[in-house]
Amino acid sequence: MATTRNPVTKMAARDVNVFYGDKQAIRNVSIDMGMDEVTAFIGPSGCGKSTFLRTLNRMNDTVASARVDGTITLDGQDIYASDMDVVQLRARVGMVFQKPNPFPKSIYENVAYGPRIHGLANSKADMDVIVEQSLRRAGLWEEVKDRLQDSGTALSGGQQQRLCIGRAIAVQPEVILMDEPCSALDPIATAKIEELIHALRGRYAIVIVTHNMQQAARVSQRTAFFHLGTLVEYGVTSDIFTNPREERTKDYITGRYG
């Protein structure tokens, strides 16, 4: 399975198993995620796609009962190795969550926080440049440039989510993980986020979990279908949606279950 290799692999997983206590959530997943691509994870609720996403920046470490087996590499370096610094890993592999979660601080502070704790700006002027650039890339600059000191939580849901993307961009990640970033948003806000994903492709490796198959078809170059903790099929997005090899994939994308 998952024999299609990307020309340049950014992150790769080999025989990954994830356990929550005695319960196994992920079984033997091996997958490569490309450098210049958007990779989508689809599958029914509870299939483990979000769990797997959270192993990619070790967010599962915060769950006491979680245990991860197998190897996951970032540029060939094992991220679960003992010499890997989790804090730095999470700066290199940024994350955007299902529910927009800006800090209850100003818009400026939301974006500036990451660069500040990692010491990426040498001066206030530096920081201003980083904030503007990040918000421009997140497609939010024009809407908020006159009210950077307003609270981030006062923005609309879609703007908040773009602010969260801008916040992730500000620390110059190599990979951005998105966990159902549009599930709490209306169709117009969703369209904006999808445009943004298009614009960001190439600059960052993007991995997106989505419930919405049309979204996966629209934004991704490769799609992985998860079911019951296993990776059923992984391939070029157009192949998965028009010509799936596995029966289960076909049933899912034609709406037989999900």
């Binding site: 994350m95 209850p104 990451g114 916040r167 992730a168």
Partner: protein, 430 residues
């Protein structure tokens, strides 16, 4: 086949039920009962609030009506003929600025007694407070020229006269007051010494400053110890500690500790701080340590709830851009939890400020006539001072007790005011 029967059963159901008549008498009665129930509940709630407000108003009114007279003192106009008095002082020394020192040995009490006898008869000095001579001293320092003439100085009255002038004294004293009033010799003024002096044996001379300062020092020690320790414990238990039998045990112990009667903490303070650590008796540091033990569990419990209430999405957000666990705590969790932590601190500190029992155990009930200079000096605190004065035989202490309660309430309100101000500031920052 199965589907058909299900359908048949499903169709039969609506036919079994008659359409609801929303205007039937039974229905109207039900509506009327519902409205009545809501009205009853509202009235009961209002009655409960009124009752508690009434009790509070009654308490404040009694305290004020009893206590306010404690801030007023009665003064007797005492004519003093300085040139003819047995005063032994060199006027030059007073002018040179060492007046207080010079007058300390100038036999002023004898001058006062002589003047009182001359003005009010053979037992004249009994009308005046024992501290009456200090009024003469202050008058001379303020204006040394009165030493060369006859002057009338307002001096504090004795306790019985003071009470009678406030219409709470004995019949004999009231008769004397009537006579003095006829001579226009009585006046009243703000009792400044009550705010600047310390405990004493004569109710006209006692003051609250020593106890106030003792309370202040004790509260500072309590806050400095309990706040940081409790906040760190709360954060550690919520954010870092693994969930196991040990942390469960610690949690149960803390919850029980918050419910332990305060006098037990006094015994603990006596055994540990006084007997084992040999810290000084009656000192604010020991009181503060003891009250800190009592306050800590309250702040820990409030702090844990406040930390728990910070949404996990904020932690995820911070971790997701590479904040370390300690940065997550100090940059995000703690600021958001601070209003809740401060609320717990207000409750704990207010309880500590009003605490008497544990402080009796560590010797803070001693008679201390000088205000403490530091946390290791013997001190007493406001509630203990109130307790001590309420125990006094002399009737003059009744109004002093109530006045001390007013001072305690003002202290409490000021403390809570500061805490609420801080809490609102923290809330506004976000």
């Amino acid at each position: 086949m199965t589907a058909a029967t299900l359908n048949a059963a499903g169709n039969a159901m609506p036919q079994d039920r008659t359409p609801t008549d929303w205007t039937s008498p039974a229905m109207r009665q039900r509506i009327a009962r519902r409205y009545a129930a809501e009205r009853r509940f509202k009235l009961m709630g209002l009655a409960a609030v009124t009752l508690s407000a009434g009790f509070l108003a009654f308490l404040l009114f009694t305290m004020m009506s009893n206590g306010l007279s404690g801030f007023i003192r009665t003064e007797v106009a005492l004519p003093v003929d300085f040139p003819r008095s047995p005063l032994m002082v060199d006027p030059a020394m007073i002018k040179s600025g060492n007046g207080a020192q010079a007058l300390a040995n100038a036999n002023l009490p004898a001058v006062t007694t002589a003047a009182a006898r001359a003005a009010f008869g053979p037992e004249g000095e009994t009308l005046l407070s024992e501290s009456a001579w200090t009024a003469l001293r202050d008058a001379i320092i303020a204006d040394p020229s009165i030493l060369e003439r006859k002057a009338t100085i307002a001096v504090p009255a004795a306790s019985e006269i003071d009470l009678a002038a406030k219409r709470t004294g004995s019949a004999e004293a009231e008769a004397i007051v009537a006579k003095l009033n006829a001579k226009d010799a009585l006046s009243s003024s703000f009792n400044m010494p009550f705010l600047t002096a310390s405990d004493g044996t004569d109710p006209t001379q006692v003051g609250i400053w020593g106890a106030f300062k003792g309370s202040l020092l004790t509260m500072v020690v309590t806050l400095l110890l309990s706040f940081p320790i409790a906040v760190l414990s709360a954060i550690y238990l919520e954010e870092y500690a693994p969930r196991n039998r040990w942390t469960d045990l610690i949690e149960v112990s803390i919850n029980n500790l918050a419910a332990v009667p305060s006098i037990i903490f006094g015994l603990l303070g006596l055994a540990v701080f006084l007997n084992a650590w040999m810290l000084p008796r009656s000192a604010a540091i020991v009181g503060g340590l003891t009250l800190a033990l009592m306050t800590m569990p309250v702040i820990v419990i409030a702090g844990r709830n406040a930390v728990k209430a910070v949404p996990p999405s904020i932690r995820d957000a911070a971790l997701g851009i590479g904040a370390s666990p300690i940065q997550v705590v100090f940059h995000h969790v703690l600021p958001l939890a601070m209003p809740g932590i401060l609320t717990g601190t207000i409750i704990g500190m207010a309880r500590a400020l009003g605490e008497t029992a544990p402080l009796l155990m560590i010797g803070m009930r001693a008679f201390i006539a000088t205000p403490p200079g530091g946390v290791t000096d013997p001190a007493t605190v406001l509630p203990v001072q109130i307790f001590l004065w309420s125990d006094e035989v002399s009737r003059g202490f009744v109004e002093k007790t109530s006045a001390a309660i007013i001072v305690l309430l003002v202290f409490l309100l000021a403390m809570n005011g500061i805490a609420i101000y801080l809490r609102n500031r923290f809330e506004k920052r976000w």
